[in-house]
Symmetry: C2
Subunit: 229 residues, 2 copies
């Protein structure tokens, strides 16, 4: 039988697949680098050839998940019949739908990323996702400017500013997670939703749109995500 | 001679004074916890009673510096003759003036906080400063709403959103620092200033003000800070 020589990218992808499955099954904290290399059938040297640490791997995983999410909405991003605002709202609606479908997995990542002691990890994951999302959002903003409906001086910088608003909800998400399963769960989820709604209005305004143009959150969204186990 | 018993808060303040002097004189990286306790005449146990680490101490120092900066503009914050927009602009102008006066010290902190390997530290310092600034800004926003000039649903949440915009300039600041002293220094400082200007417009809009209402940056500000040594 001929020996199968896998490319470094294939190996890296397989390592990420293994890690993702283990993180979702056992949780990030309870998965070690040894668990991952055993499952993947890779040596320790092979792991460290691709990743400097478990945190580094989670960052690569967050970027890959963001890219996969973007790939799943290519139809919305490429549809020539959509104006920029419809495209942005369709993109957000599909993103929310995917988040609700994947809520248990997302909760598993959030539970780790939003622990107070994991603030570093949160910022690394956030930066990875912002890196993937920036060109996608910048393209929609540029279309909106070309159509004369969005009013903003620089599409790329504006995309970065808008995406950085996400970090302003960090504490509200952390509080909602902490309250999960307690009598305060619903109130904490509603408080998070209030913040997300205000973030949506901030984005409307930054893009030069009327308040409420962007459907950033829908009623009950935060409760749906937070109720998932 | 009676033994002087200092309160824990006095001790903590003295430790911070020593650390601040050492950080500014030698740089944060080249100062050890041992240097600080020797200078302060405190035992290692005394240090760790107040701080968990050098990073923890720098975070406390950032919060203290932010509080001192706010204390220096009490006249602007309390002046009953100022409407909210004038108060905000006077506050920003005084903050810029203090930053230019203290530019060498600020650069010494920035050089450390904006290194790629110190991203954690950056986020801890940023969170500490946001914690101090949130109630100050929320009060100005609430005044602007009461006057009917600012248009925003929730003063406290809006203050948090506005303050989180600062992180969107992290990379531009890091690039300006890296370019400092090279042929690209002026271009990098100007690129930073462009971002700060756009951030100012984002804040105008989030507060429901016309573009350019808030003087967030003045021409040459980024170059002045970045040229300081």
């Amino acid at each position: 039988m001929p020996r199968v020589v896998k490319s470094p990218e294939t190996r890296k992808g397989e390592l990420l697949d293994c890690a993702q499955a283990l993180f979702f099954a056992r949780g990030y904290e309870r998965t070690t680098v040894n668990d991952i290399i055993q499952q993947a059938g890779v040596s320790k040297g092979g792991f460290y050839h691709h990743f400097t640490s478990k945190e580094d791997m989670l960052e690569a995983l967050a970027a890959r998940m963001a890219m996969q999410a973007v790939a799943q909405v290519t139809d919305v991003l490429e549809d020539p019949g959509l104006d920029a605002l419809s495209r942005l709202n369709a993109f957000l609606a599909r993103s929310r739908q995917m988040k609700i479908e994947d809520a248990p997995k997302i909760r598993a990542m959030f539970d780790t990323a939003f622990r107070p002691e994991n603030i570093v990890l949160y910022h690394r994951l956030n930066a990875a996702v912002i890196g993937v999302m920036t060109p996608v959002l910048a393209r929609i903003i540029a279309q909106g400017r070309d159509e004369g409906r969005f009013n903003t001086p620089d599409a790329l910088m504006t995309a970065e500013i808008v995406l950085h608003l996400g970090a302003s909800t960090h504490d509200a998400v952390a509080r909602a997670i902490a309250a999960s399963g307690t009598a305060q769960a619903s109130a904490a989820a509603d408080a998070l939703e209030d913040r997300l709604r205000l973030q949506g209005i901030a984005i409307d305004r930054i893009l030069g749109l009327k308040d409420g143009s962007i459907a950033f959150v829908e009623p009950g969204f935060a409760r749906s995500i937070m109720a998932a186990r």
